[in-house]
Amino acid sequence: MVFSSLIFLFQFFPATLLVYYLSPNRLRNAVLVAASLAFYAWGEPVYVFLMIFSILFDYANGLLIDKYRHRKSIARTVLIFSLLGNAAVLGFFKYAGFLIDNINRLFHVHIQAAELPLPIGISFYTFQTMSYIVDVYRGSVPVQKNIVAFGAYVTMFPQLVAGPIVKYGDIAAQLASRRMTLEKFGEGAEWFIRGLAKKALLANPIGSLWMSVKSTPTEELTAGYAWLGIIAFTFQIYFDFSGYSDMARGLGKMFGFELPVNFNYPYISRSVTEFWRRWHITLGSWFREYIYIPLGGNRRGLRIQFRNLLAVWLLTGLWHGASWNFIVWGLYFGFFVTVEKLALLKWLQRVPAPVSHIYTMLVVIVGWVLFEMDLGTAGSFIGVMLGFGAHGWTDDRTLYALSTNAIPLAALALCATPLPRKAFMHLAQKGKRGDAIAVSAAYGMLLALSTAYLVTATYNPFLYFRF
């Protein structure tokens, strides 16, 4: 199930919320686990058992590590066993096909790969359980003895399928007891509506522009159409992903949790380094905490630091998907981050802001081409953007797409900055009754419009009947 669906919004969510708040405190984690399993099983009726296995596996490993804490070697063995187990699950479901494919090509053999669909959210929940095991081993968090509370941590449906990646330490105390107030609930509803509007009103509509560009054969593309398309995708992926994270945070609040913020206006960054501090924040900090720093970070000389950066960016690429373009995409950003660390960052701070903004956005936008297309197509697409092999710079289709998307693109650009949010906050905080009503009305409007867009997504008139 996804949040931006009618069935979630108007059936699953209200029902869950009702049961949750009618239940006594001690049963609420159990309600949450049950609802989350149902939420997951709706789309993955079989893989839900894989997730349950994963929970039991790391729950047991956590207990074992805690029990043998004084016997370092046993605790360490359990840790490695657990990490390998998680890596194996992830590797089997996510990377096996890719690996076999490459072996086949390299050695000209034909090993049949089992074509398994990727279990939803597996990259997210395995990263969460791994963070738990590592933190228990390090002793930075207490072991969780209650299986229901641990299950709630892993399965919690707000963050289950698309993050944010919650570290166990961030949420351990809230699993035991959390404060629920009307104010927090209201804040949660606002986060949720903002996220829903980002997804339904901003990401989905502009996504259709990208779809029509992407489905155009490269030799028919004009340079202008290619740029328009990839800019559309740049907005689509941001509002889609950050919208999802906002909805997750909002839902979390409505159930009394504080989930971490995952996006902080990444497109206003002035360097690639800054971009990655604002984009998918919880993934970046996971890699920093569990890969980069344990490998020695930047404290063991430049060479080791380069190796560590390489490892982190290679894994970042791979985490996004099992294919070469993601690897190249990860290394591409690794390259810019490294160059910025060495020299560019100081220069970027000195030059006028527009220069550094343009530089950053160019790197990011070209990055999205690598992200969205396989390497061959991405190469010719970037060529077209530069005018090589393009069907001219512009044509009617380009001008039509530009003229009819001018207002939406301007709105998207505005919403990618903190300005609309600041305006809302300003109105809400002035404390005038009229302004507060206006803000509520605006949220109501957003929700109604989002509903209209979601309903219409299924608008499917059948016209070719005897016509």
Partner: protein
């Protein structure tokens, strides 16, 4: 919260609808539950369709969405452009490579099987070509004329190509196409009829020979449904009724019923009011004039022909009308059996390229 709660309660409270008039299709019903459908995920996806289809005030939400789109400057929806002066215009999608050759080959095959029968081919342009000045700026609506020219060049000289575009274009200031529907009006069909007469060597009836009668002014056509755009002016439908009255017998072969009118007035009460012409599309219709006036004609056609045929009845004593989408007999046999001397193929260029049934013309 209140909003979400209200909708959540309303869904089970309101009765399910089985058919949507505005979308012209059957809506998804509550799917039966079974363990296997649940495990395969089929139950989930059908249930989601069901919730969407039966969503409270569905049509209102759809209108709200297209209104918001219009406010944001969008001028197309679902392949339909929102043109000037309230025209909705369907874009012409370029056909697949080889489609033109294949269809023409089928026509040629039919031609070889029925030697000595005169054949005429009328490919009607749509509003996307005739009203291209009413399209939104830069709108890429496809080049119908280039493909029409292509067909004309491919056709053998045995088949006379009736080019109706210039006549329609000359009349474009008058309502030759509906604004909310993809068809031409009877006035547009009249312009095409005059062109056809030139090719067939007949003397067309003058416009003064007809009494023009408006039968409805509340027609929201197919493009209105397809686009979902609201706040459009409805179309009116006018019939060209000959002042000099003749009686006809209209036989619907498969349905086994007979009428005496070319117009099915009861269809004006329904959503698709264009069906007033001949009652819509049927496999085989036979029109016989009470006073024999000419030879026998076979029309192989799509719905564009339905408003053209009334003009032809004055020139032929029998007209056989075949819609290949529903007809499963042999056309060659039909021609031989009834000793038909003239064949007219009428399609609008969209259907001609989109509809695979034209290939049934091919004789084995």
């Amino acid at each position: 919260m209140l909003f979400v709660g209200t909708i959540a309660v309303l869904h089970p409270a309101l009765p399910d609808r089985s058919f949507s008039d505005s979308e012209n299709r059957v809506l998804e019903a509550l799917p039966p539950f079974s363990l296997s459908s649940l495990l395969s995920g089929k139950f989930a996806s059908r249930y989601e369709k069901y919730v969407a289809d039966q969503f409270a005030f569905r049509d209102v939400w759809i209108g709200l969405k297209t209104d918001a789109d219009r406010a944001m400057g969008r001028t197309d929806s679902n392949g339909v452009y929102l043109g000037k002066d309230g025209y909705l215009i369907a874009a012409f999608a370029p056909p697949a490579e080889g489609e033109a050759e294949e269809k023409v080959a089928a026509i040629h095959s039919f031609d070889r099987a029925t030697p000595g029968v005169r054949k005429y081919m009328m490919l009607a342009p749509t509003a996307a070509a005739v009203h291209r000045d009413k399209l939104p700026a830069f709108a890429p609506a496809g080049d119908e004329l280039a493909y029409m020219e292509r067909i004309r060049k491919l056709l053998s000289p045995n088949i006379r190509f009736v080019d109706v575009y210039p006549a329609l274009y000359a009349e474009r200031e008058r309502p030759v196409y509906y604004k909310t529907d993809h068809h031409w009006t009877m006035q547009g069909a009249y312009a095409a009829y005059r062109e056809l007469c030139k090719e067939m060597g007949m003397i067309p009836k003058d416009e003064e020979d007809f009494r023009v009668r408006q039968v409805t002014n509340a027609f929201y056509g197919s493009l209105y449904s397809k686009s979902g755009f609201r706040h459009m002016q409805p179309d009116s439908i006018s019939l060209y009724l000959p002042k000099e009255k003749t009686d006809y017998t209209v036989e619907y072969a498969d349905e086994g019923h007979t009428t005496h009118s070319l117009y099915a007035m009861e269809r004006l009460e329904r959503k698709d009011k264009y069906q007033v012409f001949l009652g819509g599309n049927y496999a085989l219709i036979r029109i016989m004039a009470s006073r024999p006036t000419g030879g026998k004609l076979l029309v192989v056609k799509d719905s564009y022909a339905n408003s053209l045929i009334p003009f032809l009845t004055g020139h032929f004593s029998e007209i056989y009308i075949v819609d290949l989408r529903y007809f499963d007999g042999s056309l060659t046999r039909l021609v031989e059996q009834h000793d038909i001397r003239d064949v007219l193929i009428v399609y609008n260029i969209h259907t001609f390229f989109e509809d695979p049934s034209i290939k049934y013309l091919k004789e084995e």
